[in-house]
Symmetry: C2
Subunit: 416 residues, 2 copies
Amino acid sequence: MTESIIEQLKAAAKAKQFLQQFAPDAKKVALEAIAAALVQHEVVILQANKIDLDRMDDEDPKKDRLLLNSVRLRALSDSVRQIADLADPTDQLLLRKVLPNGLEIEKITVPLGVVGVIYESRPNVTIDVAALCIQSGNVCLLRGGSDALHTNEALVNVIHAVLDTQGIPKDIVQLLPVARKYVSELLEATKYVDIIIPRGSQSLIDFVRANAKVPVIETGAGVCHTYVDKTADLDMAAKIVANAKISRPSVCNSLDTVLVDADVAATFLMKLAPYLEQVAVEVFADPIAYRILEDQKFSNLVAAEEADFGREFLDLKCSIKTVEGLDEALEHIATYSSKHSECIVSSNELAIERFLNIVDAAAVYANASTRFTDGGEFGLGAEIGISTQKLHARGPFALEKLVTEKWIVRGNGQIR
Amino acid sequence: MTESIIEQLKAAAKAKQFLQQFAPDAKKVALEAIAAALVQHEVVILQANKIDLDRMDDEDPKKDRLLLNSVRLRALSDSVRQIADLADPTDQLLLRKVLPNGLEIEKITVPLGVVGVIYESRPNVTIDVAALCIQSGNVCLLRGGSDALHTNEALVNVIHAVLDTQGIPKDIVQLLPVARKYVSELLEATKYVDIIIPRGSQSLIDFVRANAKVPVIETGAGVCHTYVDKTADLDMAAKIVANAKISRPSVCNSLDTVLVDADVAATFLMKLAPYLEQVAVEVFADPIAYRILEDQKFSNLVAAEEADFGREFLDLKCSIKTVEGLDEALEHIATYSSKHSECIVSSNELAIERFLNIVDAAAVYANASTRFTDGGEFGLGAEIGISTQKLHARGPFALEKLVTEKWIVRGNGQIR
């Protein structure tokens, strides 16, 4: 084991220059070839994946995320092909002007440069990030979890073999070693790395935020609320809340807390309860909601503590709080939201516009499930994650945002 | 002295809500009133400024930066009026679509929220930042240097008095106490502060980058090169280099290092030397340039050490290095540049395009002085600084970039 990844980082910075002269066609050709090679090398990839799976405890919930099979590998391959079909986000002219002194100024989009991604055990991240970075002309440094080591090595080997036949430097896609100490080195490498994206658990994101000197785009944690106003169509509200919680509880755009106007709480919860009972959702209820659900003989009921609000459950669990109208709902959301996706269900236009205007979140909804916050759903293609911070990218962070700007100034001797 | 600024931070986060409902007119009216009040309260402001100046050593170079007088106060007032005339960057529709399922999706610009600015002794930063934040609907937290304490208090008092008469919460513009410990509190306040902008010396920027958990936009340090190609018009090259170094050496877009093709080094340096001699620029020269300048009896000559390349001089000093052609120049810039402003002087179109394409910097120039990298010069109005990183804003960071995006989704019961 080497003592430093500095040589890898230097090679990445050097490979940037190649990518800045990358013909748009070459990207598409390379991605199509990678898509084909992934399917072609199925046996080798699945063998490597089996080594990783065999090392993992059968009860480990990460096992399913790590698992590859023919169907999933084909889906990965399709994803690469879809990325190859997206519009190239680089070299877009954003502004052009000629100053009175004759200077010609252009602002164009250019690749970010070297993108470091720190993630956990999903092999699809390896492929999606590599494909998105190739299509946007960025070098990527992949630091996946140790659980997925052999799988990631097999996937990156397939990519490297393709790049090699295309005459593209392999250094544009690099897998970093998994030891912890290299993560610190990556986070401090301001000289070689332009941006770090942590993708995974809140603890991973917190660690990166606390330790990175390289600029970071945070993706991830979603503490999502749905507020049911007293004017809401309560049947619709129950369906929206149930969908936001149940359709895929393990993802960041799923519902964590229901806020319901006290005036309609009893009727609404009567409509909601059957949906939640059906899949045994555990409910952490405030005193009023608790009494209502208890009366309805709701089975999986817990008295909410303070810590159950602002909690990202990522599971078939949610908290419920009754509020005295919109202002209290807004106040609650301002206090507990992670600024990801927030929803109001209402038929009062004024209340809706006030909510959409005041709530500070990447995506704000009226009368629809928060589960739609997704690059694919919004028509942006594969995403690297959902950004919950405000700089550069907010909400789905997809291909279009893997660029920065560059000012180009052409003169004939102008001085100031 | 209080033990914490938490109450100020909370008040800032709360004031955000007011600004999200701020009528565009109200902003303009408030800024016009502030512009008038600054001139009207000249006596009080200059008295406060005198207290700060009297505390400072006469030899301190910061004294001139801190000094206010009638003329400078009028310039501050004019700057506020100019900002009031800039287009409101918020509430711009970036994208609108209706999905097949009927969901209406909009992406609009919204204020960042709470903007913290950490700076040194220039009182114009206080006024420019406050005015830019009001015009973009942001709350600002101003943490100026202790040298300027009384001046900043007087300026913010004037702003507060105006806000008060307009019925606008004073919490939208807050001066933070100067003690060091509060800076750490500000840098970690991810719950209340949306973005931190350090504005000042490299050591300040490094401190903020190393310690902030709140996202940071870096502005500042410029290690700027001008490469004189062998095909350059050498008279023009000498004028451009002289202007980039001499016109205002204390700012970040001024020249630090000249790279000159060895083939033309002797002729070029003969043309450049008189400009440098005239204002006694101290030159740190590599062996070849040293010999040439020594032959020409250049007076202020030092043999360059490794540390003289990649050094931001901010003074009448520069380093000179001879190179064997464009590739060596590109390599040198990739190694030592701070990615601010870089220039080629050449009459070879291929060399120019290669330079503009490959050099990784916020602004790249052909045949013009790097001194043009400036929000005002680029037509963006007053700037908060020059961003040398790649996320969100690159190059002049002005009003247009004091916003983030928000996705607004309107439905009628859609679930996924």
